[in-house]
Assembly symmetry: C2
């Protein structure tokens, strides 16, 4: 086990009607709020009204930043920062999924950043010092952003999608009410499940050999996705399925699995290049790329890990290790397909002549992957295979 510092400070309020606690939770942070949300579904579901009622009851003044899209744009971040500065905002409330939360996080820290917020993504995490307090009301299970200090933002001008990470970005609290995800569409539910699954895999496929408890914990979360992803798809209002996925989503990327070992993140690297260019849903991109990444990095040297994965997660049996490993990959692909995910980049509108550029973008800031380091050429082969 490698050394680590554990810091999972976000308070989680999990369950039905936990929104009733919102006023109380915001009290320590001030009265002037930036209220960030997405493209209006919160108005349909009544959540908008519930939140603004609580603001009113607690004599809080709020400004709105709405219309945050999937693959949230830095232009929205700039808008939010301006509102914060103009209105002397004291805290941020994000209602939505990962895109809204990531946008809100970047605003919360961008307020303290001199110059353009995109600079933080180029300069790296050390440019981040502090952030306004952030509270989250989650409406989508997948990204894990509700319980970590990561934010991923797209720059529409440069077609880049980059991440920042800092403990200051961790929400102070997140309200996780599984009933808010009852209305998430089948496709989005499937994409969210794949996103959770992929977050776990990125940490599971690690070059750190000695990570026994972390590996077993990771397998626990993978099994939960395998059991409850299909249930949430076929019964969108199944509380237990939504609850299991929601909590698993948070545990998958809050640090628990990553502490004490190195993580990979190559597939996310390729997918970010993809969705920055094509505006593909993140989980869909991951569903396509993951099995091809697995096939490419499966070698004699790495086969142990694939065997462990196949046997423990998919209960694959058999004597021949290579066959077992391959069967595990096949099971992964089938799982994604059964969730209704596409199998190729072609199906989501990627142009074949764009693959070279996607590979270049994947390694724009250096090689990716720690389980298996990928050069531009490696990435290109995977992308071609996935085409």
């Amino acid at each position: 086990m490698l050394d680590f510092n554990y810091m999972i400070s976000t308070k989680i309020l999990f369950g039905k009607n936990k929104i009733e606690r919102l006023g109380e939770e915001l009290k320590p942070y001030g009265k002037r709020v930036l209220f960030v949300y997405g493209q209006g579904s919160v108005k349909k579901t009544g959540l908008y009204g519930a939140v603004t009622d609580i603001f009113a009851k607690n004599n809080m003044v709020y400004q709105e930043l709405n219309g945050v899209q999937p693959n949230p744009r830095v232009s929205h971040v700039r808008q939010g920062i301006k509102i914060c500065r103009d209105h002397d905002i004291e805290c941020v409330v994000a209602v939505g999924g990962g895109s809204v939360i990531d946008c809100a996080k970047t605003i919360a820290t961008g307020v303290y950043h001199e110059g353009d917020p995109w600079d933080m993504f180029l300069q790296g995490d050390s440019s981040i010092k502090k952030a306004l307090p952030l509270g989250v009301i989650l409406t989508f299970a997948g990204t894990g952003s509700e319980m970590n200090g990561n934010a991923v933002i797209s720059n529409e001008a440069t077609k880049e999608k980059l991440a920042i990470h800092h403990d200051a970005l961790r929400p102070r609290f997140s309200i996780l009410d599984p009933t808010y995800t009852f209305t998430v569409s089948k496709t989005q539910t499937a994409a969210g499940t794949v996103d959770i699954f992929s977050h776990v895999l990125e940490q599971y496929f690690s070059p750190t050999k000695e990570a026994f408890v972390q590996n077993r914990l990771a397998e626990s979360l993978l099994k939960t996705c395998i059991v409850y992803g299909p249930v949430a798809l076929s019964k969108p209002t199944d509380y237990e399925a939504r609850a299991q996925l929601m909590w698993t989503s948070s545990l998958a990327l809050n640090g628990l699995l990553g502490y004490g070992r190195i993580s990979d993140w190559a597939t996310h690297g390729m997918e970010h290049a993809l969705s920055a260019t094509y505006d593909v849903t993140h989980g869909v991109g991951l569903a396509i790329l993951t099995p091809y990444w697995m096939e490419y990095v499966l070698t004699k040297e790495t086969s142990d890990k694939f065997v462990e994965y196949a046997r423990n997660v998919w209960q694959v049996t058999g004597e021949n290790d290579l066959a077992v490993a391959k069967k595990g990959i096949q099971k992964t692909r089938e799982f994604f397909t059964d969730l209704g995910m596409p199998k190729t980049l072609r199906e989501v509108g990627v142009k074949e002549n764009a693959l070279e550029t996607l590979a270049e973008k994947t390694v724009l800031h250096g090689d990716v992957g720690k389980f298996k380091k990928l050069s531009k050429n490696d990435a290109l082969i995977i992308l071609k295979n996935a085409y």
Copy 2:
């Protein structure tokens, strides 16, 4: 999944030489420290010197409370509270295992409690409001006290052993350096492993049927004990084994497994009655009682859970559910025996005519157990079986 509020605020500094961070971590809390430790092994290992050097370098003034014993006494707590009040102590540093930490926690909150600290244990958790900041340097893996808000204290006068629980008792930080556990004796290492195992079981054997991810996480920790307990026994300086057990110990009782479901804790109830009376090592008491508890509560109604346990944790196969369940219990007993634990209460010096009193003490504050509620008579049968 049941509703819950997640709050695991303790910062963990995990790895070799993390003690170098002690001065920095204490800075926000003040200069006047109460330094709590046990029966002198910290002097032998050099940890005492390392800690006091850091105090000196950071211009901190410290008072000592030493000699804290296993099954820590309320008399020690009283002493510590007096020191805190006399010297206007600002924060507490505990160096040791669960006993030292629990004593330190109770002192930290007892300072703010008017009247005798034992009253808090009789009045219950609502009597606790706040506590002095506590930093921990852990030297023993087992109790999980380093990452939770629980404290168990014995009253030597009344021969009672009771617990308090409050978020205010959570250490602000805990330094987990697995090398500090290299010198823990075989018996104590085994007892610590059983303690971890038992903490997981108390939460795993739950009446809450819908707790899929929690069950899988619990099994992960059980498997880690099964693999690394024996390694730590046979190779006391095996870093990985010590590291895996140390981190598993913290995860086993920090809330992660318990959030979203009801836990049992009947075996701990009986064991506390036992060790309050006989000063038996807590893990030893648990090793004896757990298999007998399992045998007693295994019925047609509860057998599903035992089958899940046997199959998932011990890879027991077979068609006959009852046979599978029984095999899981047998495996549990063998695991404890292989670790060198005794099998009967007789072996640890319990008198047969004391069993009635132990049963009475178990249910002194009401029936125990949520997976299966135990009356005094139930407890007595289990104790007799375990004799």
